[in-house]
């Protein structure tokens, strides 16, 4: 077993975590928190929600790691959790009509001092939109609007150019299905952006 903690494999970290070296979990966080975030962002297109999901992913992983049997790679397992949580959040947002603008009125002291607060809940927050040209913004918006099966495969492909085999494992699909979904996602995207 290597003494240099940064060089430990995921499997070694998981094993030592189970034996009580919980501080090693930080290494997994350093390695993969950005990946969890990217998955969430690809699905949700919203920075704050993605941060929330990424944190939730690691809280769940932390709790469940002692029972992780290692049947699959740690990353496959973690990506699955990330994808599931992101999908849940997506559905939750959708059910709440997160794309709509909502207004809330609040009485501060008396009726004369009513404040109208507009809380825009667009998918891309102003922070997210900064630095993007219109075409890039359209790309992100249309990725979010893709059918979930296509979108999920494409999002994973963009995580460090994940291999088709690994995507198939994470999404529990056949390799041919993944090839087809990614191609269709891109084609659909191209058609929508050409309109």
């Amino acid at each position: 077993m290597s003494d240099n903690k940064d060089q430990l494999s995921d499997a070694e970290i998981v094993e030592r975590f189970k034996q009580g070296e919980h501080h090693l979990f930080d290494i997994l966080v350093q390695r993969y928190s950005n990946k969890a975030y990217q998955i969430a962002y690809g699905v949700l297109g919203h920075r704050e929600d993605s941060e929330e999901v990424a944190q939730d992913v690691f809280v769940r992983v932390y709790k469940a790691l002692p029972k992780f049997r290692g049947d699959s790679e740690f990353t496959t397992w973690m990506y699955r959790i990330a994808m599931n949580l992101a999908r849940n959040k997506y559905r939750y947002n959708k059910s709440r009509g997160a794309n709509r603008k909502i207004s809330m009125q609040e009485t501060i002291d008396d009726d004369d001092k009513r404040t109208l607060i507009q809380v825009p809940e667009t998918r891309l927050s102003p922070d997210d939109q900064a630095g993007l040209d219109e075409y890039q913004r359209n790309i992100m918006r249309e990725i979010e609007n893709l059918p979930p099966l296509y979108r999920d495969a494409l999002v994973l492909r963009n995580i460090d150019e994940m291999s088709y085999e690994k995507i198939a494992e994470v999404l529990d699909c056949k390799l041919g299905t993944i090839k087809s979904r990614i191609a269709r996602a891109r084609e659909e995207l191209r058609k929508r952006l050409a309109r």
Binding site: G42, E51, V59, Y135, M140, I182, R184, R186
Partner: protein
């Protein structure tokens, strides 16, 4: 030289996509040299990849925040080991059983009518039902000096009565227990100053808190504290001129509507700037 139009041997979109990701087939590479539409398609794939990679870069603080959250999780686990959690569950179960038993004793001899507890003198004698529990002369005025004209209150009896009683039932309200997580939106005049206000108002023994999404227009703050501390915290923020937008409990000055249990609540504040 690239052709302007598709040729009859153009690869399918799936082949192009697969080649773009995995390479391998040199005939497709050669084809792209001479076919503008296919080359454009692959260029589009590249543009999408670049955009997604650029946009979805995680913020620098994310890993630190997550690691901190996981460390807090460990501290909580150590603070409340399994036996403590089981003891807490057992205590709650004991209370529930006790209450259920008490309700059963009080309603058993009655006729099944809805019953309420009243303090002597408020009920109509004709509609009383069930058991009368006599408790004589218990003074409830612990600090009579503090309230002018306060007459000593005595409980002469406690009895269940019918729903038809003349007692004022409108005063009977169900108390709300806060959930484990509460999210409030507050409107403030100055987002930057609000950070100082938050830290000043935060109960002293709350060590775990964090800021995120900070800008001149908004800010997110999170902290864990007991439900009672949270009610006080909300009162303090209101007193400092903040406007609570969310209607969820706890609301400033409405502690009487809460059932305080001392449990920990993850409190998230989203601050927005008041419109001029």
């Amino acid at each position: 030289m690239k052709t302007e139009h598709k040729t009859h041997y153009c690869p399918s979109k799936e082949e192009l996509s697969n080649w773009y990701d995995n390479g391998g087939d040199d005939t497709i590479k050669d084809h792209l040299e001479v076919c503008a539409p296919c080359d454009e398609t692959v260029g589009f794939y590249k543009k999408v990849d670049e955009t997604v990679c650029y946009v979805s870069a995680a913020p620098d603080y994310l890993a630190t925040d997550i690691a901190e959250a996981c460390r807090n999780l460990e501290r909580e686990t150590l603070a409340f080991p399994l036996w403590a959690r089981l003891a807490r569950i057992a205590a709650v179960a004991a209370v529930v059983v006790s209450v259920a038993a008490a309700v059963h004793v009080m309603t058993a001899p009655g006729d099944g009518a809805d019953t309420r507890l009243v303090i002597g003198g408020e009920s109509s004698g004709n509609t009383e039902t069930g058991v009368t529990l006599a408790v004589d002369e218990i003074s409830l005025n612990a600090k009579p000096d503090t309230v002018a004209d306060l007459n000593p209150v005595t409980v002469t009896d406690i009895r269940p009565v019918s729903i038809n009683s003349t007692a004022d039932m409108s005063k009977t309200q169900a108390l709300t227990r806060l959930g484990d997580a509460v999210r409030h939106v507050w409107a403030v005049d100055d987002i930057n100053l609000s950070r100082v206000t938050l830290l000043e108002a935060l109960p002293k023994d709350v060590k775990t808190h964090c800021f995120s999404n900070v800008s001149d227009e908004k800010l997110t703050f999170q902290a864990a504290m007991s439900d009672a501390q949270l009610q006080n915290f909300v009162n303090t923020l209101q007193a400092k001129g903040w406007a609570l937008v969310t209607k969820d409990f706890p609301q400033p000055g409405e502690i009487n509507k809460l059932k305080l249990t001392g449990h920990s609540v993850n409190y998230r504040i989203d601050l927005v700037k008041k419109l001029d």
